[in-house]
């Protein structure tokens, strides 16, 4: 009987443990959630030259790689700081849900990269999950690079998010100076197959619609790709859609408009880059509906890839690579086609803008962009993480974190000017070129900085060399053996780069940096729910309109889309966003 009793007691004990452990973990979550108070224990041993190796958790909402940082960047960080980076990528593990889980657990890791300074970032501050850079004088002691190179960005963050006293992070792409901040190419094209365009005698393109007859002729000129697949004028994809069809919104970006207002989360309005003008996504004469009409016309002419609706971006990328697509919205999408073999034959994509185009461009902003670097409240060694972050914001750090250690892919010549090495031409920007073991081994591609957030804007001038950080803009690069396509394009346009073309012909609308002490709004939950509902309707009808059978159906769908959206509260959403823009953005720029 005794033994029985023991057995039962043991059982009860185990059950009790089950209950209590679950209760305990509950408590823990609660504690760390309300306490940003846990002081990072000041470890005074950081002046010690041979510091012990630490591994820090880098939670990056932008990273597309998870696990320990490999290759040359790992070697660099290990040699300089004796730090190993363990990257946690929400993009690869459930996206927003992963972020929510991390937030609810009360620990965001050591170094944190936020995709926007919107809701998640502000909630993390509110929940006490982020470290105040000014605590224990951390910033002044260990953040010299940050203070020297991004002082206004620190100040802006303090005013916007830290109540004027605390600093909970620093924005990306910090830059100074006038003019566009893009590198040699812009974010938007449109680019066409340059060889076919030239064969057709380079006809003038005045408006967006002029592309369609031209694409028709190009398609007739090359009806099959190299692999014998049919060619399409335009191929679209739907997996980047948010509250509306992303690729129809791009038409607004060809006209100097951008989504949102540059500060608050984007929703239903598009605003001009530097004028105080806005339009709703569903405005009858707005650029979004114009974009839908453009794709509808393309489909009517048999130019649109019929798989556009069902395929993903990767499918389109493969089609571009195979030469099945003749038009590209973004220069960074079509570069998969421009292989050295093809460009040697004179085949390749190049910028062919329309005369009315005003490409959307982002200006330099000393206050930094909306992707934020922050440090977790429970970070193990905040001093060393601050040192690392500070280095990332220094000229040396920018060069090495982006292009590898000096002497490998790039170097400085006798007169102090930077140049790309023979190795660099093979490896940059991220090719699978083997890296010598002394620099960390592996391939150059795998070894690139996988955190995937920038610090200083690459088109800034590097004080050490007097040239930009971006190697594409170095004179030594621009004059380095241009391929036949580039050569032909330069001869035809009389400029060196796509950016020069837009600037020279005044076809560009650059955003001006503005400073505000206002925190970007977090949309009230109920309104956000409405916007999500409207977005669903707009996406659905937009695609149906593009593939409508005739004008009558197109117009009918458009009418239905507008009626339904308005019924769900579209006007309320627009009024809210315009109110924010007029109050928080327009007066300050």
């Amino acid at each position: 009987m005794k033994k029985r009793w023991y057995g039962s007691a043991l059982l009860i004990l185990m059950c009790a443990m089950l209950v209590f452990t679950s209760a305990c973990s509950n408590n823990n979550g609660g504690n760390s959630a309300d306490g940003g108070t846990k002081a990072p224990a000041a470890s005074g041993n950081n002046e010690n030259p041979d510091r012990e190796e630490i591994t820090i958790d880098v939670f990056s909402m932008l990273a597309n790689y998870a696990g320990e940082q490999p290759g040359w960047f790992a070697k660099l960080v290990k040699d300089k700081f004796n730090i190993k980076l363990n990257i946690i990528a929400s993009n690869l593990a459930g996206g927003q849900q992963k972020i929510a889980t991390m937030m609810a657990s009360g620990d965001l890791g050591d170094l944190v990269v936020f995709g926007t300074n919107g809701r998640d970032y502000q909630d993390a501050i509110k929940a006490g999950l982020l470290l105040d850079f000014t605590k224990d004088d951390l910033l002044n002691k260990y953040g010299q690079g940050l203070l020297a190179n991004a002082p206004e960005a620190i100040e802006a963050n303090k005013k916007q998010f830290g109540g004027g006293t605390a600093v909970y992070g620093v924005g990306f792409d910090v830059g100074t100076g006038e003019g566009p901040s893009e590198g040699a190419t812009m974010n938007y094209g449109p680019n066409l197959r340059w060889d076919l365009y030239q064969q057709l005698g380079s006809p003038e393109i005045k408006t967006l619609n002029d592309y369609l007859p031209l694409l028709k002729k190009m398609q007739e000129l090359e009806p099959k790709s190299e692999n014998g697949r049919p060619t399409y004028g335009i191929s679209l994809w739907s997996d980047w859609d948010g509250s509306y069809m992303t690729l129809a919104k791009v038409i607004a970006q060809f006209h100097g408009y951008n989504e949102g207002d540059g500060l608050n989360p984007a929703g239903m309005i598009l605003t001009h880059q530097n004028k105080d003008e806005w339009q709703g996504v569903l405005d009858e004469d707005g650029y979004y509906l114009q974009g839908l009409k453009f794709y509808y016309d393309a489909n009517q002419m048999g130019l649109l890839d019929p798989d556009s609706l069902t395929q993903k971006f990767s499918d389109v990328s493969n089609k571009i690579k195979d030469g099945q697509v003749l038009f590209s919205h973004f220069p960074w999408v079509d570069n998969v086609y421009n292989t050295p073999e093809r460009t040697a034959e004179g085949k390749g994509f190049a910028l062919v803008p329309f005369a009315d185009e005003k490409v959307t461009s982002y200006g330099q902003s000393p206050y930094g962009g909306n992707r934020v670097w922050a440090i977790g409240a429970d970070a193990k060694d905040p001093e060393r993480i601050m040192e690392f972050l500070s280095w990332l914001y220094s000229p040396e750090g920018v060069m090495e974190a982006n292009y590898g250690p000096k002497g490998l892919a790039w170097d400085i010549d006798g007169s102090g000017k930077p140049f790309v090495t023979e190795y660099g031409w093979k490896a940059l920007p991220a090719n699978a070129e083997p890296v010598p073991a002394e620099y960390g081994g592996g391939t150059f591609k795998d070894g690139t900085n996988q955190i995937n957030n920038t610090t200083l804007k690459l088109t800034n001038i590097n004080p050490d060399t007097g040239e930009t950080y971006d190697y594409n803009l170095w004179p030594s690069t621009l004059n380095h053996n241009p391929d036949p396509v580039t050569k032909s394009w330069r001869e035809a346009t009389g400029v060196m780069t796509a950016k020069d073309y837009f600037v020279k012909n005044n076809m560009i609308e650059v955003s001006k940096p503005f400073f505000t002490t206002e925190t970007p709004v977090t949309v009230p939950a109920q309104l956000q729910q409405k916007i999500d509902g409207i977005g669903k309707i707009i996406k659905e009808y937009s695609w149906k309109m593009v593939f409508a059978k005739n004008d009558a159906e197109f117009n009918k769908l458009q009418e239905e889309m507008i009626t339904k959206s308005k019924g769900l509260g579209y006007d309320e959403a627009v009024a809210y966003e315009v109110g924010n823009a007029e109050k928080m953005v327009f007066p300050f720029r």
Binding site: M1, Q97, G533
Partner: protein, 319 residues
């Protein structure tokens, strides 16, 4: 347990009073771990329903979150267009669930015929091939579907074009024709073999003597199937049917999520997918919880209705 204790227990057991008081608690203790587990995993989470009344943001404690009252519940039917949306979604949910219940008889038929196969090897191959799709994730099923049906380079279009049966490729994935039917077919394809496993087990459980007796009475193969096998697995079928009626409103979302596009969203968007599209993509946990609460209540109601129907019609029920 040594002999002394054993004999003592037997002595104890002889006295009815002691038997009751002792072993009652002992049995209770044996059941306790499972009661605790049921409490932990089935009742404790009900506490989470509280989130339906708050604007909860992960990381921020509930005490600091905004109290919303019944706003998440009423927002579903706040205006005419919104009501139409919910009705459309419910119509899809009910249609696809009904089709699924209608096709739930297919695994039964499949199982009955499968065990009749003489060649063990062939039987094994068929069973493996039909069970396999169950283990393929819906994402992979979609990429398989895309390879088969895409317009540009799909197997079907290439085949039909080469045969000269069609002149223009068909766009099967981006069409809203027979969406419910297509979705049902996909889930039948994926679940047929897996669903049959339970019935095959039930069939093996049928007493062989009944078959022998029937054979002696002169029953042929189909008579055996109809009069012995089918009645033998009916209880299993009805239990599963009742449970699936209880799940009438839960279609799951993966399948519909991967197959949805602008063209078919009108007919493919079931309740779970709708909640995902509206609530989860934007971490609106309050709204998602509110809907799941309603779903639980509806499921519970349906299960009780189905159970009492079964009691009335078949004179048998699961509880």
């Amino acid at each position: 347990m040594d002999i002394n204790t054993a004999s003592k227990t037997m002595v104890d057991a002889k006295s009815p009073k002691r038997f009751q008081s002792k072993d009652k608690y002992y049995l209770f203790l044996m059941a306790l771990p499972f009661l605790v587990l049921a409490f932990l995993f089935s009742y404790l989470p009900l506490y989470g329903w509280i989130y339906a009344f708050y604007d909860y943001r992960p990381g921020i404690p509930l005490s600091a979150s905004e109290f919303m009252g019944f706003d998440w519940f009423t927002s579903m039917i706040s205006n005419e267009i919104q009501r139409q949306e919910v009705l459309r979604v419910l119509r899809n949910t009910f249609a696809i669930s009904s089709l699924n219940i209608a096709t739930s008889v297919l695994p039964v038929i499949f199982a009955v015929f499968l065990v009749e196969l003489r060649s063990t090897r062939f039987k094994k191959i068929v069973q493996t091939l039909t069970t396999l799709p169950n283990f393929i994730s819906w994402v992979l099923v979609y990429s398989f579907a895309f390879m088969l049906f895409s317009v540009d380079n799909g197997f079907l279009n290439n085949l039909l074009l080469d045969l000269g049966w069609i002149s223009r490729p068909l766009n099967i994935l981006a069409s809203d024709d027979h969406t419910w039917m297509a979705m049902t077919l996909w889930s039948v394809w994926k679940g047929l073999g897996w669903g049959a496993i339970m019935y095959i087990a039930a069939i093996t459980g049928i007493d062989q003597e009944i078959y022998e007796a029937a054979r002696v009475d002169g029953a042929g193969r189909f008579r055996l199937m109809w009069h012995v096998t089918v009645p033998g697995i009916m209880p299993t079928f009805f239990v599963l049917l009742l449970l699936s009626i209880g799940n009438f409103i839960n279609n799951g979302m993966e399948q519909f999520y991967v197959f949805q596009n602008a063209m078919n969203t009108n007919h493919i968007e079931v309740l779970d997918l709708y909640v995902y599209n509206i609530g989860m993509t934007n971490s609106n946990f309050g709204f998602a919880t509110a809907v799941s609460m309603l779903k639980s209540l509806v499921s519970l109601f349906l299960l009780f209705v189905a159970n009492s129907m079964s009691k009335i019609i078949r004179g048998d029920s699961i509880f």
